[in-house]
Every structure is written in C-alpha cells, then in structure tokens.
Amino acid sequence: MNFPFLTLITFIPLLGAVVVALMPGKRERALKRVAVLFSVPSLVLALIAWLLSAQTASEMQWLEEAVWIPTLNAYYRVGVDGISLPLVFLTTLLTTLSLFYSAYTITKRVKEFFALFLLLETGMIGVFVALDLILFYIFWEVGLVPMFLLIGIWGQPQDRPQYSAIKFFLYTLVGSVAMLLAFIAIYLTTGTWNILQIPSLKPLAGNPALAIAAFWAIFLAFAIKVPSWPFHTWLPDAHTAAPTAGSVVLAGVLLKLGGYGMIRILLPFFPDLFRQFAPWIGVLALVSMIYGALVSMAQWDLKRLIAYSSVSHMGFFMLGLVAAAASLDVAEPVLNSRAIALNGAVLQMFNHGIITGGLFFLVGVIYERTHTRDLKAFGGLSAKMPVYYGVMLMTALASLGLPGLAGFISEFMVFRGAFALIPTYAIIGIVAIVLGAAYILWKIIQHVFLGEFSEERWQKIFNPAHWHFSLDMARFEVITMAPLLFFMVLVGVYPAPVLNVINAATTALLAGL
C-alpha cells in the first residue's frame, strides 16, 4: 500500500473548501489565509510525489484502488504517470498562486470565492489522477460548476459575465454528455471502466459504426475543452469575463483537461480510428494555430488577445498529438519522431500553463491599476513600470518561443516530430509561430510598453485613490510571478527533469498502441 499521496492532494482542497464555507464570512483576512494555507499541502505533496517517483518508470505511480460501486464495477482508482504528474503539479502550483494573488485583489463575496476555488482545484486534480471512467467523468463535471460561478459572479459587468458563464457551461456540457454516452457504450462492450485496462480490450471493435460515433463523441468533449477551432468560441468570452485568478486557472489548467483526455483516453482507446482521422484532426489543429494567431493579432483587448493566443498554442499541442498518431501504422522513419512529437505535445501543455497563466496574472497587474485592458489606452509604460516591463517581456518572449525559455523547447519538439511524420502540416503550421511573434511583439510589447508615455492619457485611466500598492509591480505580484519565471527558465535551459518523466510515460504509451 502506497502512501495515499493522490487522495490527499485531491481532497485536501475540498476539505479546505468546506472549512472556508463554514467560517464566518465577515472575517475576510482569516478566510483568505485559511484558503491559501489549505492549497499549500497539495502543492508540497505534489512536488514530493514527483521527486519520489521513479523518474524513468513507465507504469502508473502511487496507485490507489478501492471498490466503490460493486454492481457497476466502478472503482475509486487513482494513479499518475509522467503525463499526468507534471499537470497535477501545474494545477497545485497555479491554484496556490491564484489564491495568494486573489487574497490581495478579491474584495467582493470573499468567502464564496475562496471556497469555490478550492473546490475547483479538487475537480481539476481529480481529472488528472482518475483512472476509472466514472471517477474521471465525475471530476470532469465537478470542475465545471465552480468555474461557472467564478465567471458569473466575479466577472466585470461590462464583460457580460453571466452570458459568458452559461456559454462556458453549455459548451462543456454538450461535450461531456456526449462523452458519457460513449463511455457507457465502451463499458457495455468491455465490462470495465478501468482506463488502463480498456485499451487492451479493444473497445467497440465489433461495431465499427458505434466505435466511430463514440470516437467523435469523446473527441468533441475534449476538443471543446482544449479548445480547438471551431469549438473555441466560449473561450474568449469566458476569459474576458473571468476574474484574473479564474483566467489563470482556466488557461493554465482547464484547457489541459481536454488535452490530457485526448492523450489518456482517446488515443489509447481508439488508436486506429485516431490514425485514420488524424488528417482531419490535423486540419483542425492547423486552423486553430493560424486562425487563433490571426484573430489574436486583431484584438485590442489585452485579455482577449491572450485568450485567442491560447487557441493558437493549444493548436501546437494538437499538432504534436496528431503527428504521433498519424504515423502509427508505418515503421518509424527517423529515430523516435513519434515520441518526440508526443513529448513535445505534453510539454507544450505544461509550458502553456506556466506561460499563459503568467500572462493572465500580468494582465491582472495592469487591469487592477487602470480597470481597462484596451491596448490603445496604454503606451510607454516601460518607463513608468520597469519591473513590470521586464517580467512581461520575459513571459511574452517565452510565449512566442524564444530559445532559452520554456516555450521554445516544446514548440521545437512538436515541429521536430511533425516535420519527420507529417511534413506538409508542419510547414503550414510554422506560419503560426511567425504570427505569434507578430502579435506578441507588436500588440503587447509595443502598444503597452513602448512608444511615447502620455501623462494625460495615463491620468485618465489611473486613479491613485483606488490602488493601495506600489505603481510598479507590488511585492505580492512579484512573488506570484517568481515561481512561474523560474520554471520558464528552468524548462528553457534544462528541461530534463520534466522531460524525462514525460518521456518515460509517452514511450510506454506509444509502445502499447
């Protein structure tokens, strides 16, 4: 019997949510402290679990299993491997940072906010650790509800938060109910919900039509979450409306749920179908990459811009996945291109979480001061806020894939794999990188930080009476960003600690297909 790392990591936040909910609502400082404290054990345990894991082991670590509903053959079964472990860590890290950051910025309905956020953490971690389809589905939906409320309640009135919240809810639900039917169909043929066991049982092999329907039903659920074009339209609305911490977790973690599901469930359950449909999914990936970047370039709202850049960057992830899947039937052309592409895809998820999470925090920095995200309202801020400029520059460059920072490694690996396996797609996809550099340098860096600083324009948007911290990045904002910057550099310079773990799991996964 292992130490129940995963159960603790998953459910301590839930306990925290209950404690926060039962505390008196008036004591806001105490509430905030308790909430942050309850998110720390999961972070620490996730780090310990990662360090203690056999770094190159291909099988599931820290498995826990208990019968849950015998008549349904449903188990409480959790475990992590190199694909889920970095994502679990990412979740705990971003949640703790978000709660810490929100302790300074959230003033409305404090108790509800922190309780919901902790509940959200349980749901998100649960998806990454669940190895039973029923459990997976339950956690999948548990995360939906708090995020819906976070967007709806704490959104800014001008951003139509209620519309965005219900749109987010409905989009996700459409996908997930379709997925549920597919899961039931799979269970009826295999007799198990065990995610690790189902691939070897060839689900729905005897009924090709149903298999194809199930494949697309599950794909729909994950593609909406990723989000892939054309299912992405909920994302910019949700991001724009969500409070800063909500956007961070939305981009940093919730989008990964879809990506993770594609790797953990869709690919191993239906490798042949995935290969067969890979050209089409590849087109979706390319459109997401290029269209996302183009729309991003057209935005004047800083948050919307970053939201669309997520569509583009998660397209990179999908390209890596498609590259790995498309060539499953042919002998390996060059070295381990498949593994490289898949490693790149997984690392891209981790990096995107760190980088885009950071970008949303940084949008929060300027938004909290000026209450606007209009790029035309800024300009020349590098002189006024040098630290902010520095941090933003670094994060933005990581996002566009500058060598030496995290984004480069994963994008390089995705393209390295894709060039060997699906060269046409890779060549078209490269355009997205160029466009990415364009919107980041031109829109974010130039419009916000460079150019002439106009005192008159600044006076219009900045009211010192409403801001109690320093004009340049305040200490809590620096503390929030520091761990993210650290990982951007670490993964950019020495990705081995992360990549080794990922590689062990992806090679095992590919070998099993």
Binding site: I69, P70, T71, L72, N73, E112, Y137, I138, E141, V142, L144, V145, L149, G152, I153, P161, Q162, A165, I166, F169, L170, L173, V174, V177, A178, L180, L181, I184, A185, Y187, L188, L210, A213
Partner: protein, 505 residues
C-alpha cells in the same frame, strides 16, 4: 389466509389509515384556534416514520416470490379468494417510497400550512390518504383494485389542489385537473373493460395467462385496451400529450401539494404501468415499447422546450417534471430481458424515481421556503438568495444539478442507468434525444441559478427557513449526494425491487 395473516400483511396500509383517522379525529376535538393543532403535523410525521418501520418489519415476509393478498371471496367464479394486491419487492419499494414522500412533504408544509391554510387537520389527513392510495396502487395486481386506488389517489389530489378556496388559480387548477382526470380515468376504465371482456379475468397474471394460451378469439381487443389504458396512466404520470392539466394544477395548488403531486401520483402511475405492462401484457411488448418510445421522446422534448419560457417557479418545475417523466420512461422502454446485467432499464426507472423524489421534493422545499418569506413564486423571488440564505441557495443549486444530471448527484446515477439501458438495447436514438434534452434543460434551470447567485435582491435581508424546512432540505440534499457517492445500496434496492417483475417477463 386467516384474518391475522391478512392484517399483518396490510400493516403499512393500516398504520397510514389509522394515522390519517387520528389526525382527522383530533382535528375535530382540538378546536382551540390552532394551539394544539401543530401536534397534528407531529402525529402525521410519526405515522409516516412508523410506516417505514412497519415496512422494514414485514419486508422478510414477502420472500423472493412475493405474497398475494386476497380479501375478496369470489364464489361466482368458483375460486375461493381473488388476490387483489401483492406484497412483493416492488410493492415494498413503493411503500418505502411513499413514506419518504410523506415525510418530506409534511416537513416542508408546516410553516406554509400555518400561514395560509384554515383546515389543517383535513389537509394533513388528505396528504396521508394520498400516500395510502399510492401504496395501494403500487401493490395492486387486479384491474379493479388498480382502478379504485388510482381513483382514490386522484380524488385526494383534486381536493388538495383546490385547497386554497379564496385563490382563483387554485380553484381553476383543481377544476382543470378534475375534468381531465375524470375523462382520463373513464377512458382507462373502458380499456379495463375491454381487457376483462377479452380475457374474462381481472387478475393481471390471469390476463397474461389467457392471452398467452392463445385461446382468445378477440385478441385484437388488446390493442384498443392498451391505448386507452395508456391514456389513463399517461394522465397520472403527466406524459405528453396528456399533460395539459399539470402546469395549471401545479401552479394553482398550495406549494406543498404541488410538491406531492409532482412526485406521488407520478410514481404511482409508473408503478402501475410497470406492473400492468409486464405482468398482464408481456406478449405485446413490441407494441407498447414502440408507443412508449414515441411518448418518451415527445414528453422530454416538449416538457423541456416549454419550460424555457416560464417565469413562475412552480410552472417551471411543473414542465421540468413532465420532462423528467420522459427520461424515466426510457427505463421502461429499454428494459432488458437479461436480469444479470447492471442496468435492466427497470432498475434504472426505480433509481431515477428515487433520485427524483429527493431532488424534486428538495427543490420544492426550497421554493416553499422562498415563497414563505417573499410571498411570491416568481423567478425573481429567488434573486440574491445566496446572500439571503446561503444554505437554501447551495442546496437548491445541488437539486438543480441533480435535475440536469450532473455528478456527483443522484440525478446522474438515474440518468446513467436509463441512458445505459437505452444504449444496451441499441436504442442510441433515444439516448441521444435524452442527452440533447438534458442540455436544453440547463437553460431554464440556469434561470433559477442566475437569480440565486448573480441577481440582486430588492430586499437583501437574510431570512431563516425554519426548522421543518431545514430538516426537509437537509435530508433531501444529503440523500442527493449520498445516492451518488454511496450508490451501491440504492442500486441494490432498485435492482432487487424489480427482479421479480423482470423474471416474470
């Protein structure tokens, strides 16, 4: 069967009858302007709890095969005693179900009744009689008994619906309910007479035996009988197109009565439907499955689509409950012959009913609490509920999630089983219509969520829901979570309750 044996087997019914009579009697004695009248509620509650105890007590008597209960001596046909009801697992399930309905409705009705209803003793007694009628209907194995118990249930329902005599809508609802109901039961009775005429027996198993024997020259009579019987039961369950009475009756009735109507008669209707179709007409399975599949689809779709336009919570929940009955019907349509399977459709139907019991009564309890304090059942009465009473808002949210079918709630388990049955029977279409409807339903449930969490109340002062409602809502919410997180005993109960029915078929 000796009289003592008979009385033991009828203990649950007797307990409820006795309680109702005591409540009526004391109501006549205690005419002191209401001070002792609050004890009437306690007596009714104690009777309902005793019902659970008695049901559990006689549970072992039923054995695996069930016991016939006969109290009519039928000399004309040469047999000694004609079994009217059965004490089997299905009947026991519905006795337990009835007790839970009664407890939750009574708990939720205390404050409401005190504030608005003049004749309290009769009110509680009628609710108890309604419960009695549910139990009788669920246990009946004879067409005559089925008809009598359904009529009994209908008449108590009409009376309760029109209980707010000064309120025009209450009267209107009751009259509509009565006219529709009288017509529907006349039509159903016609169907029963056709069945009797064709087979010469009123006993459900006997009908099946005659029909199976193939000696019936008027076999085709079963088809009109089937349709007319479905009309009657469709009315009780409020299946489209026999649902028109429901929104008006639900809106007009006192809210605790609406809560009762949305669960009680529906459950009784389903119990009778299951028993009648599976015991008496198993040979016509293909026919009634085809009809019911169509009914399920239109019921879900119409209920959900019309609910989108409602601004009154009671009407909204009325249409929602129409749609919910459509999902339940999937369980019956997709019933699976192989009893070893995890979902036989029928167990899904019972699980869904149980989930619906806790969810819907919980939601109505919250609606009653809100109505008690705002005087309104409009959607905007829920505005800012999260600030005014977080307990009610959070539990209501849970109930709405359960009605949608989002885990971890009871509604999810119910949907898992009925949709699972549909997929198992390769009725993919039915399952897809079901989930599309679940998604549509989000939109009107969201109307309540939006008011509670995003809306600002005109009067934002906190209020207390009172002990009775707190217990009712708390128990319902606890069970809604428990059915999802610890589902095993519920699944087992549902599966065992239908095992006999599934085996007979």
């Amino acid at each position: 069967m000796t009289l003592t044996q008979l009385l033991v087997l009828l203990l649950p019914e007797l307990v409820l009858t006795l309680t109702a009579l005591v409540v009526l009697g004391l109501d006549m004695i205690w005419r002191d302007g209401g001070r002792s009248q609050r004890f009437l509620l306690w007596i009714a509650l104690i009777g309902s709890v005793a019902l659970i105890a008695v049901t559990v007590l006689i549970w072992p008597l039923a054995g695996t095969g069930g016991l016939p209960i006969a109290f009519v001596t039928d000399r004309e046909f040469g047999s000694d005693q004609v079994p009217m009801m059965a004490l089997d697992s299905l009947a026991l399930f519905f006795k337990l179900f009835t007790a839970l309905v009664l407890i939750l409705v009574l708990l939720a009705s205390g404050d409401y009744v005190r504030a608005r209803i003049r004749f309290r003793g009769e009110f509680y007694a009628l609710i108890l009689f309604g419960g009695l009628a549910m139990m009788l209907a669920a246990a009946a194995t004879n067409l005559l008994m089925i008809y009598l118990s359904l009529e009994f249930l209908s008449i108590t329902s009409y009376l309760l619906t029109g209980y707010l005599r000064e309120d025009e809508r209450s009267t209107e609802g009751a009259v509509k309910y009565f006219i529709y109901g009288a017509t529907a039961s006349a039509v159903m009775l016609y169907g029963f007479s056709l069945l009797y005429g064709a087979t010469g027996t009123l006993d459900l198993a006997g009908i099946a035996a005659v029909l199976m024997g193939g000696v019936v020259p008027v076999h085709w009579l079963v088809y009109p009988a089937l349709i007319t019987v479905l009309v009657g039961l469709g009315f009780k369950i409020a299946l489209v197109p026999f649902h028109q009475w429901a929104p008006d009756a639900y809106e007009g009735a006192p809210t605790p009565v609406t809560a009762f109507l949305s669960v009680g008669p529906k459950a009784a209707g389903f119990a009778v439907l299951m028993r009648l179709l599976l015991t008496a007409l198993p040979g016509f399975q293909l026919d009634w499955i085809a009809v019911l599949a169509g009914v399920a689809i239109v019921t879900m779709t119409l209920g959900n689509l019309v609910a989108l336009w409602q601004s009154n919570v009671k009407r909204l929940l009325a249409y929602s409950s129409i749609a919910q009955a459509g999902y339940m019907l999937i369980g019956l349509v997709a019933l699976a012959p192989e009893a070893h399977s995890w979902t036989t459709g029928l167990n899904g139907l019972l699980l869904y009913l149980l989930a619906y019991l806790f969810t819907n009564l919980g939601a109505f309890a919250v609606a009653i609490a809100v109505e008690n304090h705002t005087g309104s059942a409009q959607l905007d009465a829920f505005a800012g509920l999260m600030r005014r009473n977080p307990f009610l808002a959070i539990t209501m949210f849970l109930f709405l999630l359960s009605l949608i079918g989002i885990p971890p709630t009871a509604g999810f388990v119910g949907k898992l089983f009925v949709f699972g049955a549909a997929i198992q029977r390769q009725m993919i279409m039915l399952a897809v219509v079901g989930i599309v409807n679940s998604v549509i339903s989000v939109y009107y449930y969201y109307a309540i969520m939006r008011q509670m969490f995003f809306g600002e109340a005109v009067d934002a002062s906190p209020f207390d829901e009172g002990p009775g409602l707190r217990v009712a809502v708390g128990v319902a919410a606890g069970m809604v979570l428990m059915m999802a997180l610890y589902a095993e005993p519920f699944i087992r109960l549902a599966s065992e309750s239908v095992s006999l029915l599934a085996a007979s078929f």
